[in-house]
Protein backbone atom coordinates (compact mmCIF):
# COMPACT_ATOMS: atom_id res chain seq x y z
CA UNK A 1 0.00 0.00 0.00
CA UNK A 2 2.83 2.36 0.77
CA UNK A 3 3.26 4.39 -2.37
CA UNK A 4 6.99 4.79 -1.94
CA UNK A 5 9.50 2.13 -2.75
CA UNK A 6 11.81 1.81 0.16
CA UNK A 7 14.49 -0.16 -1.52
CA UNK A 8 17.29 1.58 0.27
CA UNK A 9 15.87 0.91 3.67
CA UNK A 10 14.99 -2.70 3.18
CA UNK A 11 16.13 -4.74 6.12
CA UNK A 12 18.02 -7.99 5.61
CA UNK A 13 15.43 -10.64 4.82
CA UNK A 14 14.54 -13.23 7.38
CA UNK A 15 14.96 -16.75 6.15
CA UNK A 16 12.87 -18.28 8.92
CA UNK A 17 9.63 -16.93 7.52
CA UNK A 18 10.45 -18.28 4.09
CA UNK A 19 10.80 -21.86 5.18
CA UNK A 20 7.53 -21.82 7.00
CA UNK A 21 5.58 -21.08 3.83
CA UNK A 22 7.63 -23.32 1.56
CA UNK A 23 5.24 -26.26 1.70
CA UNK A 24 2.37 -23.89 0.97
CA UNK A 25 4.22 -22.53 -2.06
CA UNK A 26 4.99 -26.00 -3.36
CA UNK A 27 1.35 -27.01 -2.94
CA UNK A 28 0.27 -23.95 -4.86
CA UNK A 29 2.88 -24.28 -7.61
CA UNK A 30 2.45 -28.01 -8.14
CA UNK A 31 -1.02 -28.79 -6.86
CA UNK A 32 -2.99 -26.26 -8.88
CA UNK A 33 -1.34 -27.08 -12.23
CA UNK A 34 -1.86 -30.80 -11.65
CA UNK A 35 -5.45 -30.15 -10.67
CA UNK A 36 -6.14 -28.13 -13.78
CA UNK A 37 -4.56 -30.77 -16.03
CA UNK A 38 -6.78 -33.38 -14.43
CA UNK A 39 -9.74 -31.08 -15.07
CA UNK A 40 -8.80 -30.83 -18.74
CA UNK A 41 -8.65 -34.61 -19.00
CA UNK A 42 -12.07 -34.92 -17.32
CA UNK A 43 -13.52 -32.32 -19.68
CA UNK A 44 -12.14 -34.22 -22.65
CA UNK A 45 -13.63 -37.47 -21.35
CA UNK A 46 -16.97 -35.74 -20.84
CA UNK A 47 -17.01 -34.33 -24.37
CA UNK A 48 -16.19 -37.70 -25.93
CA UNK A 49 -18.97 -39.36 -23.96
CA UNK A 50 -21.63 -36.66 -24.30
CA UNK A 51 -21.18 -36.03 -28.02
CA UNK A 52 -20.65 -39.72 -28.83
CA UNK A 53 -17.38 -38.94 -30.56
CA UNK A 54 -16.38 -41.94 -32.70
CA UNK A 55 -13.17 -43.61 -31.49
CA UNK A 56 -11.45 -43.05 -34.84
CA UNK A 57 -12.00 -39.30 -34.41
CA UNK A 58 -10.91 -38.89 -30.82
CA UNK A 59 -10.26 -41.47 -28.10
CA UNK A 60 -11.06 -41.18 -24.41
CA UNK A 61 -8.12 -39.91 -22.38
CA UNK A 62 -7.75 -43.22 -20.56
CA UNK A 63 -7.56 -45.07 -23.88
CA UNK A 64 -4.84 -42.65 -25.02
CA UNK A 65 -2.90 -43.12 -21.81
CA UNK A 66 -3.31 -46.89 -21.99
CA UNK A 67 -2.02 -47.00 -25.55
CA UNK A 68 1.13 -45.38 -24.18
CA UNK A 69 1.58 -47.68 -21.21
CA UNK A 70 0.79 -50.79 -23.26
CA UNK A 71 3.45 -49.95 -25.82
CA UNK A 72 5.95 -48.44 -23.44
CA UNK A 73 8.65 -50.97 -24.32
CA UNK A 74 8.38 -49.87 -27.93
CA UNK A 75 7.95 -46.18 -27.17
CA UNK A 76 10.71 -45.76 -24.61
CA UNK A 77 13.63 -45.93 -27.11
CA UNK A 78 11.77 -43.47 -29.36
CA UNK A 79 11.18 -41.14 -26.43
CA UNK A 80 14.86 -41.41 -25.56
CA UNK A 81 15.69 -40.55 -29.17
CA UNK A 82 13.54 -37.45 -29.09
CA UNK A 83 15.05 -36.42 -25.78
CA UNK A 84 18.55 -36.95 -27.18
CA UNK A 85 17.80 -34.83 -30.24
CA UNK A 86 16.32 -32.16 -27.99
CA UNK A 87 19.32 -32.10 -25.68
CA UNK A 88 21.95 -32.13 -28.43
CA UNK A 89 20.06 -29.55 -30.49
CA UNK A 90 19.34 -27.36 -27.51
CA UNK A 91 22.91 -27.41 -26.31
CA UNK A 92 24.26 -26.69 -29.80
CA UNK A 93 21.69 -23.96 -30.32
CA UNK A 94 22.33 -22.36 -26.95
CA UNK A 95 26.10 -22.44 -27.39
CA UNK A 96 25.84 -21.11 -30.94
CA UNK A 97 23.35 -18.48 -29.80
CA UNK A 98 25.56 -17.40 -26.93
CA UNK A 99 28.65 -17.28 -29.15
CA UNK A 100 26.92 -15.30 -31.85
CA UNK A 101 25.45 -12.96 -29.26
CA UNK A 102 28.84 -12.29 -27.70
CA UNK A 103 30.62 -11.80 -31.02
CA UNK A 104 27.88 -9.54 -32.35
CA UNK A 105 27.78 -7.51 -29.16
CA UNK A 106 31.52 -6.96 -29.42
CA UNK A 107 31.65 -6.04 -33.12
CA UNK A 108 28.86 -3.63 -34.06
CA UNK A 109 29.66 -4.04 -37.74
CA UNK A 110 29.08 -7.80 -37.64
CA UNK A 111 25.97 -7.12 -35.59
CA UNK A 112 24.48 -5.02 -38.39
CA UNK A 113 25.53 -7.45 -41.10
CA UNK A 114 24.55 -10.72 -39.47
CA UNK A 115 21.38 -9.75 -37.68
CA UNK A 116 19.18 -9.53 -40.80
CA UNK A 117 20.45 -12.93 -41.92
CA UNK A 118 19.52 -14.40 -38.55
CA UNK A 119 16.04 -12.90 -38.77
CA UNK A 120 15.82 -14.31 -42.29
CA UNK A 121 16.83 -17.74 -41.07
CA UNK A 122 13.85 -17.76 -38.73
CA UNK A 123 11.54 -16.86 -41.58
CA UNK A 124 12.45 -20.01 -43.48
CA UNK A 125 9.74 -22.62 -42.87
CA UNK A 126 11.34 -25.58 -41.12
CA UNK A 127 9.57 -27.97 -43.46
CA UNK A 128 11.64 -26.60 -46.34
CA UNK A 129 14.85 -27.46 -44.48
CA UNK A 130 14.35 -31.23 -44.29
CA UNK A 131 15.43 -32.37 -47.73
CA UNK A 132 18.49 -30.09 -48.10
CA UNK A 133 19.71 -31.04 -44.62
CA UNK A 134 19.45 -34.76 -45.37
CA UNK A 135 21.25 -34.29 -48.68
CA UNK A 136 24.07 -32.44 -46.94
CA UNK A 137 24.27 -34.18 -43.58
CA UNK A 138 22.98 -37.62 -44.35
CA UNK A 139 20.59 -39.67 -42.25
CA UNK A 140 20.61 -40.14 -38.56
CA UNK A 141 20.45 -37.69 -35.74
CA UNK A 142 22.48 -34.78 -37.17
CA UNK A 143 19.86 -33.09 -39.35
CA UNK A 144 17.36 -33.21 -36.47
CA UNK A 145 19.89 -31.68 -34.12
CA UNK A 146 20.50 -28.95 -36.67
CA UNK A 147 16.77 -28.20 -36.88
CA UNK A 148 16.44 -27.93 -33.11
CA UNK A 149 19.55 -25.74 -32.93
CA UNK A 150 18.20 -23.60 -35.79
CA UNK A 151 15.10 -22.86 -33.71
CA UNK A 152 16.84 -22.50 -30.35
CA UNK A 153 19.79 -20.28 -31.20
CA UNK A 154 17.79 -17.25 -32.27
CA UNK A 155 16.04 -16.26 -29.04
CA UNK A 156 19.29 -16.96 -27.20
CA UNK A 157 21.28 -14.65 -29.47
CA UNK A 158 18.68 -11.89 -29.29
CA UNK A 159 18.56 -12.05 -25.51
CA UNK A 160 22.31 -12.29 -25.01
CA UNK A 161 22.73 -9.27 -27.27
CA UNK A 162 20.19 -7.34 -25.22
CA UNK A 163 21.77 -8.51 -21.98
CA UNK A 164 25.30 -7.57 -22.95
CA UNK A 165 24.27 -4.17 -24.23
CA UNK A 166 22.52 -3.39 -20.94
CA UNK A 167 25.46 -4.13 -18.68
CA UNK A 168 25.89 -1.09 -16.47
CA UNK A 169 28.41 1.14 -18.24
CA UNK A 170 29.47 2.55 -14.88
CA UNK A 171 30.38 -0.91 -13.64
CA UNK A 172 32.52 -1.39 -16.73
CA UNK A 173 34.17 1.97 -16.12
CA UNK A 174 34.83 1.03 -12.55
CA UNK A 175 36.55 -2.13 -13.75
CA UNK A 176 38.74 0.06 -15.97
CA UNK A 177 39.63 2.27 -13.03
CA UNK A 178 40.79 -0.85 -11.24
CA UNK A 179 42.96 -1.65 -14.26
CA UNK A 180 41.04 -4.82 -15.18
CA UNK A 181 41.81 -6.58 -18.46
CA UNK A 182 39.10 -6.92 -21.13
CA UNK A 183 39.10 -10.63 -20.60
CA UNK A 184 38.54 -10.49 -16.85
CA UNK A 185 35.94 -7.79 -17.28
CA UNK A 186 34.14 -10.05 -19.71
CA UNK A 187 34.13 -13.11 -17.45
CA UNK A 188 33.65 -11.37 -14.15
CA UNK A 189 31.14 -8.74 -15.16
CA UNK A 190 29.62 -9.03 -18.59
CA UNK A 191 28.85 -12.74 -18.50
CA UNK A 192 27.29 -12.86 -15.02
CA UNK A 193 25.41 -9.63 -15.70
CA UNK A 194 23.74 -11.23 -18.73
CA UNK A 195 22.78 -14.49 -17.03
CA UNK A 196 19.18 -13.45 -16.63
CA UNK A 197 18.91 -12.51 -20.29
CA UNK A 198 20.65 -15.71 -21.33
CA UNK A 199 18.14 -17.75 -19.39
CA UNK A 200 15.24 -15.73 -20.76
CA UNK A 201 16.43 -16.67 -24.24
CA UNK A 202 16.99 -20.28 -23.26
CA UNK A 203 13.52 -20.53 -21.77
CA UNK A 204 11.96 -19.36 -25.05
CA UNK A 205 14.26 -21.77 -26.87
CA UNK A 206 13.26 -24.60 -24.55
CA UNK A 207 9.58 -23.97 -25.26
CA UNK A 208 10.22 -24.66 -28.93
CA UNK A 209 13.03 -27.21 -28.72
CA UNK A 210 10.88 -30.33 -28.44
CA UNK A 211 8.49 -29.09 -31.11
CA UNK A 212 11.58 -28.62 -33.24
CA UNK A 213 12.79 -32.15 -32.56
CA UNK A 214 9.39 -33.56 -33.51
CA UNK A 215 9.34 -31.45 -36.65
CA UNK A 216 12.86 -32.62 -37.39
CA UNK A 217 11.81 -36.24 -37.00
CA UNK A 218 9.00 -35.60 -39.40
CA UNK A 219 10.95 -33.89 -42.16
CA UNK A 220 14.13 -35.93 -41.91
CA UNK A 221 13.95 -39.73 -41.91
CA UNK A 222 15.03 -42.00 -39.08
CA UNK A 223 14.69 -45.28 -40.90
CA UNK A 224 14.91 -48.50 -38.98
CA UNK A 225 15.53 -46.92 -35.62
CA UNK A 226 12.22 -45.12 -35.94
CA UNK A 227 11.15 -41.92 -34.23
CA UNK A 228 8.35 -40.69 -32.06
CA UNK A 229 6.99 -38.48 -34.83
CA UNK A 230 7.01 -41.35 -37.33
CA UNK A 231 5.36 -43.59 -34.78
CA UNK A 232 2.61 -41.04 -34.46
CA UNK A 233 2.41 -40.62 -38.21
CA UNK A 234 2.09 -44.36 -38.66
CA UNK A 235 -0.48 -44.64 -35.92
CA UNK A 236 -2.39 -41.94 -37.72
CA UNK A 237 -2.40 -43.74 -41.08
CA UNK A 238 -3.15 -46.90 -39.16
CA UNK A 239 -6.29 -45.50 -37.62
CA UNK A 240 -4.78 -45.95 -34.21
CA UNK A 241 -6.22 -42.70 -32.90
CA UNK A 242 -5.64 -43.60 -29.27
CA UNK A 243 -1.93 -43.93 -30.05
CA UNK A 244 -1.95 -40.60 -31.90
CA UNK A 245 -3.33 -38.81 -28.86
CA UNK A 246 -1.19 -40.84 -26.52
CA UNK A 247 1.95 -39.87 -28.43
CA UNK A 248 0.83 -36.26 -28.35
CA UNK A 249 0.60 -36.49 -24.58
CA UNK A 250 4.08 -37.99 -24.40
CA UNK A 251 5.48 -35.24 -26.64
CA UNK A 252 3.81 -32.58 -24.52
CA UNK A 253 5.23 -34.15 -21.39
CA UNK A 254 8.75 -34.14 -22.86
CA UNK A 255 8.34 -30.50 -23.89
CA UNK A 256 7.17 -29.35 -20.50
CA UNK A 257 9.79 -31.37 -18.64
CA UNK A 258 12.49 -29.79 -20.73
CA UNK A 259 11.16 -26.32 -20.08
CA UNK A 260 10.96 -27.00 -16.35
CA UNK A 261 14.50 -28.34 -16.41
CA UNK A 262 15.77 -25.07 -17.85
CA UNK A 263 13.75 -23.10 -15.31
CA UNK A 264 15.28 -25.31 -12.64
CA UNK A 265 18.80 -24.72 -13.92
CA UNK A 266 18.19 -21.00 -13.79
CA UNK A 267 17.11 -21.25 -10.18
CA UNK A 268 20.26 -23.23 -9.38
CA UNK A 269 22.56 -21.02 -11.43
CA UNK A 270 21.39 -17.73 -9.94
CA UNK A 271 21.23 -18.28 -6.18
CA UNK A 272 21.50 -14.54 -5.56
CA UNK A 273 18.05 -14.03 -7.01
CA UNK A 274 16.40 -16.07 -4.29
CA UNK A 275 18.75 -16.49 -1.42
CA UNK A 276 19.88 -13.92 1.06
CA UNK A 277 23.01 -15.72 2.11
CA UNK A 278 25.33 -17.69 -0.14
CA UNK A 279 25.54 -21.37 0.67
CA UNK A 280 28.89 -22.62 1.76
CA UNK A 281 30.19 -24.59 -1.17
CA UNK A 282 32.00 -27.66 0.17
CA UNK A 283 35.03 -27.77 -2.04
CA UNK A 284 35.57 -24.15 -3.04
CA UNK A 285 35.57 -22.71 0.44
CA UNK A 286 37.73 -25.20 2.28
CA UNK A 287 40.54 -22.66 2.65
CA UNK A 288 38.21 -20.22 4.35
CA UNK A 289 38.35 -22.40 7.40
CA UNK A 290 40.96 -21.02 9.79
CA UNK A 291 44.10 -23.19 9.97
CA UNK A 292 43.51 -24.02 13.60
CA UNK A 293 40.30 -25.75 12.68
CA UNK A 294 41.95 -27.60 9.89
CA UNK A 295 44.59 -29.27 12.04
CA UNK A 296 42.10 -30.98 14.31
Amino acid sequence: MDPQTRDLERAPRESGQRDRSRTQTVLRNVGIPVLSIVLVLLLWQAIVIIFHVAPYIAPRPMAAIQSVTDNWGLLWPLVLGTIRETIYGFVCGAVLGLGLGVIMAKTPFLHRMVYPVLVLSQGVPIIALGAPLVLILGFGVTPKVVIVAWIVFFPVTVNVLAGLSHVDQDLLNLARVYGASRWRTFWQIEIPASTTSLFAGMKIGATYAVTGAILGELVTPSGASGSLALYQETANTNFNVAAVYGTTMVMTAIGISWFLLIVGSEVLATPWQRRTVARRSMFRRRRDVPPTLRVH
Partner: protein, 316 residues
Protein backbone atom coordinates in the same frame (compact mmCIF):
# COMPACT_ATOMS: atom_id res chain seq x y z
CA UNK B 1 27.78 -70.08 -52.16
CA UNK B 2 30.90 -71.07 -50.38
CA UNK B 3 33.06 -69.04 -52.66
CA UNK B 4 30.86 -65.93 -52.26
CA UNK B 5 31.16 -65.96 -48.49
CA UNK B 6 34.92 -66.04 -48.74
CA UNK B 7 35.07 -62.90 -50.86
CA UNK B 8 34.50 -59.55 -49.12
CA UNK B 9 30.92 -58.31 -49.47
CA UNK B 10 30.12 -55.30 -51.66
CA UNK B 11 28.32 -52.55 -49.82
CA UNK B 12 25.12 -51.24 -51.39
CA UNK B 13 22.95 -48.45 -50.05
CA UNK B 14 19.32 -48.87 -50.92
CA UNK B 15 16.92 -45.90 -50.66
CA UNK B 16 13.27 -46.60 -50.02
CA UNK B 17 10.59 -44.22 -51.40
CA UNK B 18 8.85 -43.42 -48.12
CA UNK B 19 10.13 -41.85 -44.90
CA UNK B 20 9.19 -44.91 -42.87
CA UNK B 21 9.36 -48.65 -43.59
CA UNK B 22 6.21 -50.52 -44.56
CA UNK B 23 5.18 -53.84 -46.12
CA UNK B 24 6.44 -53.13 -49.63
CA UNK B 25 9.87 -53.67 -48.08
CA UNK B 26 8.99 -57.31 -47.36
CA UNK B 27 11.08 -58.70 -50.28
CA UNK B 28 14.04 -56.57 -49.15
CA UNK B 29 13.79 -57.93 -45.59
CA UNK B 30 13.49 -61.45 -46.93
CA UNK B 31 16.53 -60.99 -49.16
CA UNK B 32 18.52 -59.99 -46.08
CA UNK B 33 17.09 -62.57 -43.70
CA UNK B 34 17.30 -65.52 -46.05
CA UNK B 35 20.84 -64.61 -47.05
CA UNK B 36 20.08 -63.94 -50.73
CA UNK B 37 22.20 -60.78 -50.66
CA UNK B 38 25.12 -62.50 -48.94
CA UNK B 39 24.96 -65.27 -51.49
CA UNK B 40 25.24 -62.63 -54.20
CA UNK B 41 28.21 -61.02 -52.44
CA UNK B 42 26.26 -57.98 -51.28
CA UNK B 43 25.76 -56.19 -48.02
CA UNK B 44 22.71 -53.93 -48.34
CA UNK B 45 21.92 -51.03 -46.09
CA UNK B 46 18.42 -49.53 -46.29
CA UNK B 47 17.94 -45.75 -45.88
CA UNK B 48 14.80 -43.66 -45.89
CA UNK B 49 14.22 -40.27 -47.51
CA UNK B 50 12.68 -37.21 -45.83
CA UNK B 51 9.97 -37.22 -48.51
CA UNK B 52 9.12 -39.36 -51.53
CA UNK B 53 10.78 -37.07 -54.08
CA UNK B 54 14.14 -37.09 -52.34
CA UNK B 55 14.86 -40.74 -53.20
CA UNK B 56 15.77 -39.72 -56.74
CA UNK B 57 18.04 -37.00 -55.36
CA UNK B 58 19.73 -39.51 -53.08
CA UNK B 59 20.47 -41.61 -56.15
CA UNK B 60 21.62 -38.63 -58.21
CA UNK B 61 24.02 -37.43 -55.52
CA UNK B 62 25.37 -40.93 -54.95
CA UNK B 63 24.08 -41.06 -51.38
CA UNK B 64 22.35 -44.30 -52.43
CA UNK B 65 23.25 -46.76 -55.19
CA UNK B 66 19.89 -48.36 -55.80
CA UNK B 67 16.42 -47.08 -54.96
CA UNK B 68 12.75 -47.77 -54.98
CA UNK B 69 10.51 -45.15 -56.66
CA UNK B 70 7.30 -44.76 -58.60
CA UNK B 71 7.26 -44.87 -62.39
CA UNK B 72 6.00 -41.32 -62.58
CA UNK B 73 8.78 -40.02 -60.31
CA UNK B 74 11.19 -41.65 -62.76
CA UNK B 75 9.60 -39.76 -65.62
CA UNK B 76 9.73 -36.44 -63.82
CA UNK B 77 13.31 -36.97 -62.66
CA UNK B 78 14.57 -37.88 -66.12
CA UNK B 79 12.80 -34.82 -67.46
CA UNK B 80 14.59 -32.66 -64.88
CA UNK B 81 17.92 -34.04 -66.08
CA UNK B 82 18.63 -36.55 -63.34
CA UNK B 83 20.54 -39.50 -64.87
CA UNK B 84 18.34 -42.17 -63.27
CA UNK B 85 17.60 -45.51 -64.83
CA UNK B 86 14.89 -48.04 -64.02
CA UNK B 87 16.25 -51.59 -63.69
CA UNK B 88 13.12 -53.61 -62.96
CA UNK B 89 9.45 -53.38 -62.08
CA UNK B 90 8.32 -53.99 -58.52
CA UNK B 91 4.65 -54.53 -59.37
CA UNK B 92 3.60 -55.38 -62.85
CA UNK B 93 0.21 -53.69 -62.99
CA UNK B 94 -1.68 -50.67 -61.75
CA UNK B 95 -3.61 -51.13 -58.51
CA UNK B 96 -4.43 -47.46 -58.05
CA UNK B 97 -8.14 -47.14 -57.25
CA UNK B 98 -11.02 -45.00 -56.06
CA UNK B 99 -12.71 -45.82 -52.77
CA UNK B 100 -16.04 -44.96 -51.20
CA UNK B 101 -17.11 -45.54 -47.64
CA UNK B 102 -19.10 -48.60 -46.56
CA UNK B 103 -22.67 -48.38 -47.73
CA UNK B 104 -21.83 -46.57 -50.94
CA UNK B 105 -21.43 -48.75 -53.98
CA UNK B 106 -18.97 -47.36 -56.46
CA UNK B 107 -18.98 -49.05 -59.86
CA UNK B 108 -17.79 -48.26 -63.36
CA UNK B 109 -21.42 -47.67 -64.29
CA UNK B 110 -22.38 -45.13 -61.64
CA UNK B 111 -18.95 -43.46 -61.71
CA UNK B 112 -20.15 -40.16 -63.17
CA UNK B 113 -23.01 -39.65 -60.73
CA UNK B 114 -20.89 -40.73 -57.77
CA UNK B 115 -18.06 -38.29 -58.40
CA UNK B 116 -19.62 -35.30 -60.13
CA UNK B 117 -19.50 -32.28 -57.86
CA UNK B 118 -18.01 -34.41 -55.09
CA UNK B 119 -14.90 -34.06 -52.97
CA UNK B 120 -12.09 -36.37 -54.06
CA UNK B 121 -9.12 -36.95 -51.80
CA UNK B 122 -5.58 -36.90 -53.19
CA UNK B 123 -2.14 -37.18 -51.58
CA UNK B 124 -0.93 -34.69 -54.17
CA UNK B 125 1.53 -37.24 -55.51
CA UNK B 126 2.57 -37.45 -59.13
CA UNK B 127 0.88 -40.79 -59.57
CA UNK B 128 -2.57 -39.56 -58.58
CA UNK B 129 -2.06 -36.38 -60.58
CA UNK B 130 -1.40 -38.38 -63.72
CA UNK B 131 -4.13 -40.99 -63.18
CA UNK B 132 -7.05 -38.74 -62.23
CA UNK B 133 -7.34 -37.10 -65.69
CA UNK B 134 -7.89 -40.52 -67.28
CA UNK B 135 -10.67 -41.29 -64.84
CA UNK B 136 -12.33 -37.92 -65.30
CA UNK B 137 -12.16 -38.25 -69.07
CA UNK B 138 -13.68 -41.72 -68.79
CA UNK B 139 -16.56 -40.33 -66.74
CA UNK B 140 -17.02 -37.46 -69.17
CA UNK B 141 -16.15 -34.82 -66.58
CA UNK B 142 -13.68 -31.96 -66.47
CA UNK B 143 -11.50 -31.24 -63.49
CA UNK B 144 -13.67 -28.25 -62.60
CA UNK B 145 -16.65 -30.57 -62.08
CA UNK B 146 -15.08 -32.25 -59.08
CA UNK B 147 -13.36 -30.83 -56.04
CA UNK B 148 -9.91 -32.22 -55.27
CA UNK B 149 -8.84 -32.13 -51.64
CA UNK B 150 -5.07 -32.46 -51.50
CA UNK B 151 -3.53 -33.59 -48.23
CA UNK B 152 0.06 -34.73 -48.22
CA UNK B 153 -0.27 -35.85 -44.58
CA UNK B 154 -2.59 -38.60 -45.72
CA UNK B 155 -5.70 -38.55 -43.60
CA UNK B 156 -7.72 -40.15 -46.43
CA UNK B 157 -9.48 -42.88 -44.48
CA UNK B 158 -10.33 -40.64 -41.58
CA UNK B 159 -11.76 -37.96 -43.84
CA UNK B 160 -13.64 -40.54 -45.90
CA UNK B 161 -15.27 -42.21 -42.91
CA UNK B 162 -16.09 -38.86 -41.30
CA UNK B 163 -17.80 -37.80 -44.53
CA UNK B 164 -15.39 -34.93 -45.12
CA UNK B 165 -14.58 -36.33 -48.57
CA UNK B 166 -16.75 -38.52 -50.79
CA UNK B 167 -14.06 -40.42 -52.64
CA UNK B 168 -10.56 -41.44 -51.58
CA UNK B 169 -7.77 -42.31 -53.98
CA UNK B 170 -4.93 -44.63 -53.09
CA UNK B 171 -3.39 -47.91 -54.11
CA UNK B 172 -5.53 -50.85 -53.13
CA UNK B 173 -2.88 -52.63 -51.07
CA UNK B 174 -2.41 -49.67 -48.72
CA UNK B 175 -6.00 -48.51 -48.58
CA UNK B 176 -7.68 -51.86 -48.04
CA UNK B 177 -5.07 -53.01 -45.54
CA UNK B 178 -5.59 -49.79 -43.61
CA UNK B 179 -9.36 -50.14 -43.65
CA UNK B 180 -9.39 -53.82 -42.75
CA UNK B 181 -7.20 -53.31 -39.72
CA UNK B 182 -8.95 -50.13 -38.56
CA UNK B 183 -11.71 -52.03 -36.80
CA UNK B 184 -14.36 -50.18 -38.76
CA UNK B 185 -17.44 -52.20 -39.64
CA UNK B 186 -18.54 -52.83 -43.21
CA UNK B 187 -16.55 -52.94 -46.41
CA UNK B 188 -15.13 -50.14 -48.47
CA UNK B 189 -16.20 -49.95 -52.08
CA UNK B 190 -13.11 -50.30 -54.31
CA UNK B 191 -13.05 -49.33 -57.99
CA UNK B 192 -9.74 -50.05 -59.73
CA UNK B 193 -8.49 -47.28 -61.98
CA UNK B 194 -7.77 -49.67 -64.80
CA UNK B 195 -11.51 -50.41 -64.95
CA UNK B 196 -12.32 -46.75 -65.55
CA UNK B 197 -9.79 -45.57 -68.09
CA UNK B 198 -6.48 -45.47 -66.25
CA UNK B 199 -3.60 -47.12 -68.15
CA UNK B 200 -2.37 -50.42 -66.74
CA UNK B 201 1.22 -49.49 -66.02
CA UNK B 202 3.34 -50.62 -63.09
CA UNK B 203 3.47 -48.23 -60.17
CA UNK B 204 6.84 -48.96 -58.50
CA UNK B 205 10.25 -49.79 -59.95
CA UNK B 206 13.79 -50.47 -58.77
CA UNK B 207 16.13 -47.78 -60.09
CA UNK B 208 19.73 -46.69 -60.12
CA UNK B 209 21.75 -44.08 -62.00
CA UNK B 210 23.39 -44.60 -65.35
CA UNK B 211 26.83 -44.02 -63.91
CA UNK B 212 26.29 -46.43 -61.02
CA UNK B 213 24.99 -49.06 -63.44
CA UNK B 214 27.95 -48.50 -65.74
CA UNK B 215 30.60 -48.82 -63.04
CA UNK B 216 28.93 -51.53 -60.94
CA UNK B 217 27.14 -53.79 -63.42
CA UNK B 218 27.84 -56.95 -61.40
CA UNK B 219 26.50 -55.42 -58.23
CA UNK B 220 23.31 -54.32 -59.90
CA UNK B 221 22.77 -57.72 -61.45
CA UNK B 222 23.48 -59.45 -58.15
CA UNK B 223 21.01 -57.13 -56.44
CA UNK B 224 18.22 -57.88 -58.91
CA UNK B 225 18.91 -61.58 -58.77
CA UNK B 226 18.73 -61.57 -54.97
CA UNK B 227 15.50 -59.57 -55.13
CA UNK B 228 14.02 -62.10 -57.51
CA UNK B 229 14.75 -64.98 -55.15
CA UNK B 230 13.42 -62.97 -52.24
CA UNK B 231 10.26 -61.93 -54.03
CA UNK B 232 9.42 -65.48 -55.05
CA UNK B 233 10.08 -66.66 -51.51
CA UNK B 234 7.91 -63.93 -50.01
CA UNK B 235 5.10 -64.65 -52.45
CA UNK B 236 5.25 -68.29 -51.52
CA UNK B 237 5.48 -67.67 -47.75
CA UNK B 238 3.46 -64.50 -47.12
CA UNK B 239 2.90 -65.06 -43.39
CA UNK B 240 6.52 -65.83 -42.61
CA UNK B 241 7.68 -62.97 -44.81
CA UNK B 242 5.40 -60.47 -43.09
CA UNK B 243 6.56 -61.51 -39.64
CA UNK B 244 10.18 -61.21 -40.78
CA UNK B 245 9.39 -57.66 -41.73
CA UNK B 246 7.91 -57.01 -38.30
CA UNK B 247 11.01 -58.39 -36.67
CA UNK B 248 13.30 -56.29 -38.82
CA UNK B 249 11.35 -53.09 -38.19
CA UNK B 250 9.71 -53.44 -34.79
CA UNK B 251 9.40 -49.67 -34.44
CA UNK B 252 7.62 -49.07 -37.73
CA UNK B 253 4.47 -48.63 -35.70
CA UNK B 254 2.51 -50.98 -37.95
CA UNK B 255 0.74 -53.99 -36.57
CA UNK B 256 1.56 -57.44 -37.86
CA UNK B 257 -2.01 -57.75 -39.09
CA UNK B 258 -1.56 -54.63 -41.20
CA UNK B 259 1.74 -55.75 -42.69
CA UNK B 260 0.42 -59.19 -43.49
CA UNK B 261 -2.79 -57.87 -45.01
CA UNK B 262 -0.87 -55.31 -47.04
CA UNK B 263 1.65 -57.81 -48.31
CA UNK B 264 -1.07 -60.30 -49.28
CA UNK B 265 -2.89 -57.54 -51.16
CA UNK B 266 0.34 -56.65 -52.97
CA UNK B 267 1.16 -60.17 -54.20
CA UNK B 268 -1.43 -60.38 -56.99
CA UNK B 269 -0.01 -57.29 -58.66
CA UNK B 270 3.58 -58.47 -58.66
CA UNK B 271 3.35 -60.61 -61.77
CA UNK B 272 1.70 -59.92 -65.06
CA UNK B 273 -0.87 -62.06 -66.86
CA UNK B 274 1.99 -63.97 -68.46
CA UNK B 275 3.33 -64.86 -65.02
CA UNK B 276 6.40 -62.64 -65.39
CA UNK B 277 8.05 -60.74 -62.57
CA UNK B 278 10.19 -57.56 -62.97
CA UNK B 279 10.26 -57.38 -66.77
CA UNK B 280 9.64 -53.91 -68.15
CA UNK B 281 8.22 -53.07 -71.56
CA UNK B 282 8.77 -50.10 -73.82
CA UNK B 283 5.02 -49.70 -74.03
CA UNK B 284 4.66 -49.13 -70.28
CA UNK B 285 7.26 -46.33 -70.35
CA UNK B 286 5.84 -44.74 -73.50
CA UNK B 287 2.35 -44.72 -71.96
CA UNK B 288 3.69 -43.24 -68.73
CA UNK B 289 5.61 -40.51 -70.55
CA UNK B 290 2.60 -39.57 -72.70
CA UNK B 291 0.39 -39.41 -69.63
CA UNK B 292 2.80 -37.09 -67.86
CA UNK B 293 3.23 -34.94 -70.96
CA UNK B 294 -0.53 -34.60 -71.38
CA UNK B 295 -0.83 -33.07 -67.91
CA UNK B 296 2.28 -30.95 -68.51
CA UNK B 297 4.34 -32.54 -65.76
CA UNK B 298 7.10 -33.20 -68.25
CA UNK B 299 8.13 -31.22 -71.31
CA UNK B 300 9.22 -34.01 -73.66
CA UNK B 301 8.43 -37.67 -74.19
CA UNK B 302 11.78 -39.43 -74.48
CA UNK B 303 12.71 -42.74 -76.06
CA UNK B 304 11.57 -45.58 -73.74
CA UNK B 305 15.18 -46.73 -73.52
CA UNK B 306 16.03 -43.46 -71.81
CA UNK B 307 14.00 -44.62 -68.82
CA UNK B 308 14.77 -48.29 -68.43
CA UNK B 309 16.80 -51.32 -69.10
CA UNK B 310 16.05 -55.02 -68.51
CA UNK B 311 19.64 -56.10 -68.87
CA UNK B 312 20.24 -56.52 -65.12
CA UNK B 313 17.33 -58.92 -64.74
CA UNK B 314 18.39 -62.50 -63.97
CA UNK B 315 16.21 -63.96 -66.70
CA UNK B 316 17.82 -61.93 -69.49
Amino acid sequence: GANASAAPLTNVTFAYDFPSPDFELVPMVVAQDQGFFTQGGLKVKVVFPPDTSTTTKLLATGAAGIGFITTTDMGVAVNAGAPVLSIGNYTMSNNWALFAKPGVSLTAKNLKSEIEGKKIFSYGDTWTESMLPFVLRHAGLTSSQVSIVTDPTGQDLKFLLAGKVNIATNTSNYEVAGFDTSGTKGKESTLLGTAIGAPNIPIWVYATTRSYAASNPKTVSAFMSAMEKATLWAVANPTKAASEFDKAYPKSGYSNAYSLAGWKLTIPFMKNSAGQYFTQTSAQWATMARALKSIKLITAVKQPSTYYTNKFLPSS
